[in-house]
């Protein structure tokens, strides 16, 4: 039997992933205030604490005012945490409790489409969250206006941590196991990736270890972009982000396929 012509018209790859993205967008924007406001409030609280409290004791860090140093790292941790949440707890709930993927899989979507859409959605949230932080910081004059282009790195950070989180999720059978991921992996990175102090003066072992943390490769480019200080190492960072994204997304999607297609 000749394959029917109408069947060839199933939506192309870009339409399929954008439809998955659209689903997440609709669900997220359904609660606009409770989802959309905190990303702007969080940096306010943080910077108030640092600006009013800590900067009286530490005025400078890595050759720039401490508030500026922190302000150039915070957009990236915001992007990291939102995308990591989205593709760990969020993905797990859609997979095991809400059965969202079972519904999607009965439409003309493959597991690859669903997970790619998911990663791009998490990237979008990374973009939005880092934009919120940068906007607040620029409004308070903590960073120059050129910083407003930096959320691009927030997007890439979102893609990277979404991919890493999907790989973790593919192994997780009990939702409480994500505690290990957050306290054992993401929190240490928050301290040892150059967000709150520079890596230069760390003991050599930690300095080298920091180069294997994905977050390190996101912090340097965003700081460079905000401060307008281009260094060649940033190209290496972007390459590393791409590598982290691909080498975790690929096996993650492959393993999740086995959990969805039984």
């Amino acid at each position: 039997m000749q394959p029917n012509k109408a069947a060839i018209l199933y939506p192309p790859f870009t339409k399929r992933i954008s439809s998955v993205w659209y689903r997440h967008y609709r669900v997220y924007t359904k609660n606009l205030i409770s989802n959309g406001l905190p990303p702007f409030l969080e940096p306010l609280i943080f910077l108030a604490g640092i600006g009013l409290g800590m900067s009286r004791y530490i005025s400078e860090m890595g050759g720039i005012p401490y508030v500026t140093f922190l302000a150039t790292g915070l957009p990236i941790t915001a992007a990291m945490f939102t995308s990591a949440f989205e593709c760990s707890y969020g993905t797990f709930i859609r997979l095991e409790f809400d059965r969202v993927y079972d519904g999607m899989i009965s439409a003309p979507l493959g597991v690859g489409d669903i997970m790619t859409g998911e990663i791009i959605w998490a990237g979008t949230k990374g973009l939005f969250f880092s934009f919120a932080v940068i906007l607040v910081e620029a409004a308070f004059g903590l960073i120059p206006l050129q910083g407003l282009v930096a959320p691009v790195i927030g997007f890439l950070t979102g893609l990277m941590f979404a991919s890493i989180s999907l790989l973790i999720t593919s192994f997780v059978t009990n939702i409480n196991h994500f505690n290990f991921y957050f306290t054992g992996f993401l929190s240490p990175m928050f301290f040892f990736s150059g967000v709150i102090f520079p890596l230069e003066n760390l003991p050599p072992v930690l300095r080298i270890a920091a180069e294997f943390f994905p977050l390190t490769h996101a912090v340097r480019p965003v700081r460079a972009l905000i401060l307008g200080q281009f260094q060649p190492v940033i190209l290496f960072d972007l390459l590393m982000m791409a590598i982290f994204t691909v080498v975790t997304a690929w096996p993650g999607i492959k393993r999740l396929r086995k959990r969805i297609i039984k």
Binding site: M1, P3, D98, S106
Partner: protein
């Protein structure tokens, strides 16, 4: 005669040591309602999932499965674009309302926005949910959720509608409504594949059924013909084995006795003979009736429960 919509030849599926589907073969012609019957654990849902690519069949031994000429393992998207699926478990998006749930699926099918809204109106009307456009999923009753999922499966004008236990757990009114809608769709030329363990459902709407047990096909055919060919037309049900023991010594030899559960069933071709037997019992101790698909089903699959049930 056009090509069959589904061709399954010696399809197998194992989950570890459990053989969920064993050497299953059948064909579903165009525009018929094809039913798969069997107790829980018979392999019906697994077979359904393999048809739309949500499960993968075993590579060995080599079998064949095509839907519209496509292999679900090779081209699941083409099959799913031409089919609508009503899964066994409701999987509506609880975070979205009725209309949004359908609209998201229109996006999955790449239906243009304007057309999508028209289609949603039309299908909510068809499934008698017109006043529920903006309702939240949590506010819907079980029957409404089921109807909404059927509406969702119909969004892309499918040629094949796949329903896994569409009316399990629903009240009789909703079941009849769903049966009416399925008959209407069949009249319009849609091919329907469903699983059920309601004998009445199969009897009411299926043109062709297979009876499965433990992953294997036991019988196939038109439900009315199957009853005619495989089971005696009348049955005398005796309430308890104790009552039965009073008459068991002197029964005519042509009767078949099934002592599976607490009720003893005496099957016979001649209503008159069964009537004479029953005259030796007190009123209320027996029930004489025509045999039905359920009797056939129990005869084939055994009247005691298996482990999976």
């Amino acid at each position: 005669m056009s090509e069959p919509v589904i061709i399954a030849e010696r399809v197998n599926k194992c989950y570890g040591p459990v053989r969920a589907v064993k050497d299953l073969s059948f064909t579903v012609p165009k525009s018929v309602c094809f039913g798969m019957l069997g107790p829980n654990g018979a392999g019906k849902s697994t077979m359904m999932r393999m048809i739309y690519g949500a499960s993968e069949r075993d590579c060995l031994p080599t079998g064949k499965l095509t839907v519209f000429g496509f292999d679900p393992q090779v081209n699941p998207l083409a099959i799913k674009f031409l089919s609508g699926v009503v899964p066994q478990e409701n999987n509506l998006d609880e975070e979205l309302n009725v209309e949004q749930n359908l609209y998201i699926f229109c996006r999955f099918y790449n239906i243009p926005s304007k057309q999508a809204l028209g289609r949603i109106d039309e299908l909510l009307h068809f499934m008698e949910l017109s006043d529920k456009h903006k309702a939240r999923i949590k506010e819907l009753s079980g029957g409404m959720k089921r109807r909404l999922i059927i509406a969702r499966a119909l969004l892309n004008n499918p040629r094949l509608l796949i329903l896994d236990e569409p009316t399990t757990g629903l009240d009789p009114q909703v079941r009849h409504l769903i049966w009416d809608k399925l008959r209407e769709l069949k009249r319009k030329g849609m091919t329907i594949l469903l699983t059920t363990h309601y004998m009445e459902e199969a009897f009411q709407i299926c043109d062709r059924i297979i009876i499965m047990d433990k992953g294997e096909k036991h019988l196939e055919g038109n439900p009315h013909e199957l009853i005619r060919e495989h089971i005696e037309p009348f049955v005398l049900e005796v309430n308890t084995p104790e009552i039965f023991s009073r008459i068991s010594q002197s029964l005519p030899p042509e009767l078949r006795i099934d002592q599976g559960g607490t009720v003893v069933r005496i099957f016979g071709k001649d209503q008159e003979i069964l009537h004479n037997v029953s005259s030796r019992l007190n009123p209320g101790e027996y029930f004489l009736r025509q045999s039905n698909l359920e009797d056939l089903f129990l005869k084939i699959t055994g009247s005691t429960l298996n482990a999976a049930q």
